[in-house]
């Protein structure tokens, strides 16, 4: 066991401070230490994307980030995207278009999609498929996930236009 490090994180807007072994994986910090169980573990090798969070503005697979590397970071998980009374457009769109089945990939999917739509508010279907290729779903065959994301993009753009 190596010496513990002093870590500070901001997760979903809340400051967190604790001592941890530097080798602790960020996904375990979130899930076990902080009780934020939205992000899941599907592989621990960066392939499946179930553990996707937004870290300092980038989509990151939290299973392959040491908590030591994340020290000082600003992190958003699915829990920070919307609230029961104020759902994120993507959360509504996934339900509306049947973009999930077992739900295990869903938090990572939606978190990644939220970032994708920030980077590219008007993606083509191809761009969605490419931009989501780091997130595996075993249930849906992606068709309705892609549909959900495109619908959410349209909706977000419509809201933006109405506001302008």
């Amino acid at each position: 066991m190596s010496k513990k490090m002093h870590i500070t994180l901001k997760v979903n807007g809340e400051e967190q401070e604790f001592l941890a072994e530097p080798r602790e994986l960020l996904i375990h910090t979130l899930r076990e230490r902080l009780g934020i169980t939205g992000p899941h573990i599907g592989c621990e090798t960066s392939h499946c994307g179930a553990c996707t969070v937004t870290l300092n503005g980038k989509s990151v697979k939290s299973c392959t980030v040491f908590v030591a590397q994340a020290d000082g970071a600003d992190i958003t998980t699915i829990e920070g995207l919307g609230s029961p009374d104020n759902l994120h457009v993507l959360q509504t769109a996934f339900k509306e278009h049947h973009g999930l089945q077992c739900g295990f990939c869903t938090p990572g999917m939606i978190t990644r999609a939220s970032k994708l739509l920030e980077e590219n508010p008007n993606p083509t279907e191809e761009e969605v498929r490419f931009g989501m290729a780091g997130n595996i779903c075993r249930c849906t065959g992606y068709q309705n996930i892609v549909k959900s994301i495109l619908a959410a993009a349209a909706e977000m753009n419509a809201v933006k236009e109405a506001a302008e």
């Binding site: 939205g38 899941h40 759902l87 065959g141 992606y142």
Partner: protein, 809 residues
């Protein structure tokens, strides 16, 4: 009058019952990260278990030294077979009538086999301790080829050889060799040989359905919590069959069944992976009993791929005969089935090769014979039904490849060959040569609809042109047209011939109507993404006339749910769905009596109408189900007990037989082996459709898993028995980038014996999809002399096929 009609329609709409695209009630929690999967469970003082696993595929264990591990701070215990032996738990029974080591008892039989179980304060310490356990192995000769296994002197399972060297019978009869498990025969051997010998045309082929894995996104795991104060064991886990797990745990632990509570929380996909009982469950239960605190075990992805529940691995050699005109006269199939080190196949007891005898497919084949030989090798045990009903996908793959090979032999169009051999609509119920009685079907209608939808003749013309262009050097891409007509057999099953470990494969539903007109229904099944909470409420809404939104569906807790055999093999809708409808009808029957009492007429003078009982001929006189529910709890009605509850256990009279017609169009780059799926058309007939949105989702998902299996996904071993595909780097799971958009379509042929006519759909697209993709690849090369090439059709193998056919110049 018009008003009355709209009102009735709006009442129907308000129910959200069968046939509507009801949005899923599960989604709110999943989209907000509030699902409750097994690894989300956190209990006070909970410990973590982790396995020491064998790096060798076949070795004797000379010694295990746990001292260094035990000395590590935070390590509570290290269990080996020696610790389990006094409890009789070092071996456990498998679902297939064999037994399996829980922890290596003197030897290991496959790479990744469980050797010791470490219990520690957190997963990091457990992982450190695993590294510190010293195991001294003596390597033994490894057999990964089932044909070699049947010839080899090397005995894999010494425990199954008597002292005098003789071979006691196995669970399925006599064994021919020490590495042989069983022979299973169905059909008429002699008669089939005669038909084949005297046939005008015979096609012969060996078709290998490679080993693969269901690989749900969530791996397997459990939390065992023994409460020593009240003597109760609670076991949460990724169980597709929680009640069966409770019974098994009781049988092997000796804890009385009422003191065991098994809970399947949210499950992150199953696809067959989560049907079996694994050493991790047993060790966690033992560890919790020993330590008195909860113990969690979650396998990692590598462990999942290497050890829990492979699928397929069938070598199928077939002969199919026909007249010159293409009328099929006979079919023979011999399977060499690689079961790995232990026979842990998840099949109903009487079916050691599952429902492989559905391999006559959608065709009227008068004479057939099937024989399956199960074989031990140094590979992981399993043999689960990966998104299919008990070996049905193997059967369908086999027949759909044989049809294509026969078409080549006859120099005939494969679509036409299918068409002239389909079982006709008027032949149902149809007794197949290998024993099953197909309940219903209308194959010609489905097929013709599919051919028309894709403009089949146009596709063939385009393909012929492409071949010309290719030969003329104008293109390097070939075009493949994959066809499949599948018949599934699902909904296991009738208790008279289907059981698992002696437990009949019925299922159940219990309904309680609350006084204010809402309800809870509990079932013996468990959703793993199929949306049961949504669809079963729809069935009930239609049956009992209360809105689906007012009905809670609960599954997965053995303390509250009625006994059932769980969810796999597309059995939930055919079996539990039927139980739900019938329990609903019991509610309705009592409601009718209450309504009659309230309306002051005879029972027979009221009739059910959407959400109410009306007086016959006087529709203005009625009592809604909501009113009836209230009356059931607040009125003393002579001769009727208070309350409104019902339970139904449904033993299906027959299986159901969903079918479908699929077409895949792909371009294949001959120089890179890359495949571009241009079009995939899927017509499914699953009988009555409960929720079209969910059906479509199931089809998309099943087809994508089919694409994976056909085009690259495999569990591969080297000759030393090392797993070559143990991570998601090597094990192919398609991403959004590789997957096409699918076109879905349907016909509706209700099951005549199912209370609502539904047949089940979750697995059809996988069962039908695999041969369809594979047929497309094979078809692309038909013009160049290819008869058959094995799956998975990854780029390298396709390139090799092209190369062997001389297409690289």
């Amino acid at each position: 009058m018009k008003d009355e009609v709209t009102t009735r329609e709006s009442r129907v709409d308000a129910l959200g019952g069968m046939g509507c695209k009801r949005k899923r009630v599960e989604d709110a929690r999943f989209t907000q990260g509030k699902g409750n999967y097994v690894d989300d469970i956190k209990l006070k003082g909970m410990l973590f278990g982790d396995f020491v696993r064998s790096p060798y595929a076949h070795a004797r264990i000379k010694s295990i030294d746990t001292s260094a591990a035990l000395a590590l701070d935070g390590v509570i215990a290290v269990l080996t077979a020696e610790d389990l032996r006094p409890l009789g738990l070092h071996w456990m029974p498998t679902l297939a009538g064999d037994k399996q080591m829980v922890l290596a008892d003197g030897k290991v039989l496959f790479q990744g086999q469980e050797v010791a179980y470490v219990v520690a304060k957190d997963r990091y310490i457990a992982a450190d301790a695993v590294e510190l356990v010293e195991v001294d192995y003596e390597e033994l000769p490894v057999i990964v080829d089932p044909f070699e296994a049947l010839k080899s002197d090397v005995v894999l399972r010494e425990d199954l050889v008597a002292e005098d060297g003789s071979l006691p019978d196995g669970a399925h009869g006599p064994r021919k060799h020490h590495n042989h498990i069983f022979t299973w025969e169905v059909g008429e051997k002699e008669a089939t040989t005669q038909v084949l010998d005297s046939a005008e045309v015979v096609a012969e082929e060996t078709v290998y359905y490679h080993r693969t894995h269901p690989c749900p996104l969530e791996t397997c795991g459990c939390v065992a919590s023994m409460d020593k104060v009240n003597g109760k064991l609670t076991l949460w886990g990724t169980f597709q069959a929680p009640h069966a797990i409770r019974t098994v745990v009781s049988l092997i632990s000796g804890i009385e069944e009422h003191n065991i509570r098994v809970i399947s929380p949210d499950i992150g996909g199953g696809f067959g992976n989560k049907v079996g009982a694994y050493p991790g469950y047993v060790c966690s239960v033992v560890a919790s009993i020993v330590t008195g605190v909860p113990v969690k075990w979650i396998e990692d992805r590598m462990e999942n791929l290497m050890t829990t529940a492979f699928a397929r691995d069938y070598w199928m050699t077939g002969k199919i005969s026909a007249t010159k005109e293409g009328k099929i006269t006979g079919l023979q199939c011999h399977v060499t089935a690689d079961h790995g080190g232990f026979d842990a196949c998840a099949d109903p007891t009487k079916f050691p090769a599952g429902f492989m005898n559905i391999c006559t497919g959608s065709y009227d084949i008068p004479t057939a014979y099937l024989a399956v030989d199960g074989v031990y090798t140094n590979k992981a045990p399993g043999g689960v039904s990966y998104r299919c009903s008990f070996r049905v996908t193997e059967a369908v793959y086999f027949i759909e490849r044989m049809i294509e090979v026969l078409a080549i032999e006859l120099n005939m169009d494969a679509a036409e060959l299918r068409r002239i051999n389909f079982i006709r609509k008027d032949q149902f119920p149809y007794k197949a040569a290998l024993g099953w009685e197909y309940d219903s079907g209308d194959y010609h209608t489905a097929w013709d609809k599919a051919m028309k939808a894709v403009d089949y003749d146009g596709l063939r013309a385009e393909q012929a042109q492409r071949v010309e262009d290719f030969k003329a050097g104008k293109t390097r891409k070939l075009m493949g047209i994959g066809l499949t007509h599948f018949t599934e057999i699902v909904g296991a099953g009738p208790v008279k011939n289907c059981d698992i470990l002696g437990l009949g494969m019925f299922d159940s539903c219990e309904i309680r109507i609350h006084p204010t007109g809402s309800a809870i229904a509990r079932l013996g099944t468990i959703s793993q993404g199929q949306g049961h909470a949504t669809t079963f409420a729809q069935i009930l809404a239609t049956e009992i006339g209360l809105p689906a939104d007012s009905i809670t569906i609960e599954e997965g807790d053995t303390d509250t749910a009625p006994y059932g055999l769980g969810t796999y093999g597309s059995r939930s809708t055919p079996v539990a769905g039927a139980a739900t409808a019938l329990a609903g009808r019991k509610i309705r029957a009592k409601a009718q009596m209450i309504a009659a009492y309230l309306l002051e007429v005879h029972d027979d003078d009221v009739e059910f109408d959407v959400d109410r009982f009306v007086v016959k001929g006087a529709p203005e006189k009625f009592k809604t189900m909501k009113e009836i529910a209230f009356a059931a709890y607040n009125q003393a009605i002579p001769g009727i007990e208070p309350g409104l509850e019902a339970v139904s256990y449904y033993d299906p009279p027959n299986m159901t037989y969903p079918f479908g017609a699929y077409v895949c169009v792909m371009d294949i780059d001959v120089d890179t082996g890359e495949v571009d799926i241009r079009r995939f058309y899927a017509l499914d007939d699953c009988g009555t459709r409960i929720n079209p949105m969910i059906i479509e989702g199931q089809v998309h998902g099943g087809l994508t898993e089919a694409l994976a299996v056909a085009l690259g996904q495999e569990i591969a071993y080297d000759e030393m028995g090392n797993v070559k595909t143990g991570t998601l780097m090597d094990f192919f799971l398609p991403t959004a980038w590789e997957v096409p958009n699918y076109e879905t379509d349907h016909t509706v042929t209700p099951s005549p014996h199912h209370p609502i006519g539904a047949k089940g759909v979750g697995e059809s697209p996988h069962v039908g999809g695999v041969p369809c993709f594979s047929n497309a690849v094979n078809d692309a090369f038909r013009a160049f002399g290819l008869r058959h090439t094995h799956m998975p059709h990854d780029h390298w193998r396709i390139w090799k096929t092209a190369n062997e056919l001389g297409l690289h110049g």
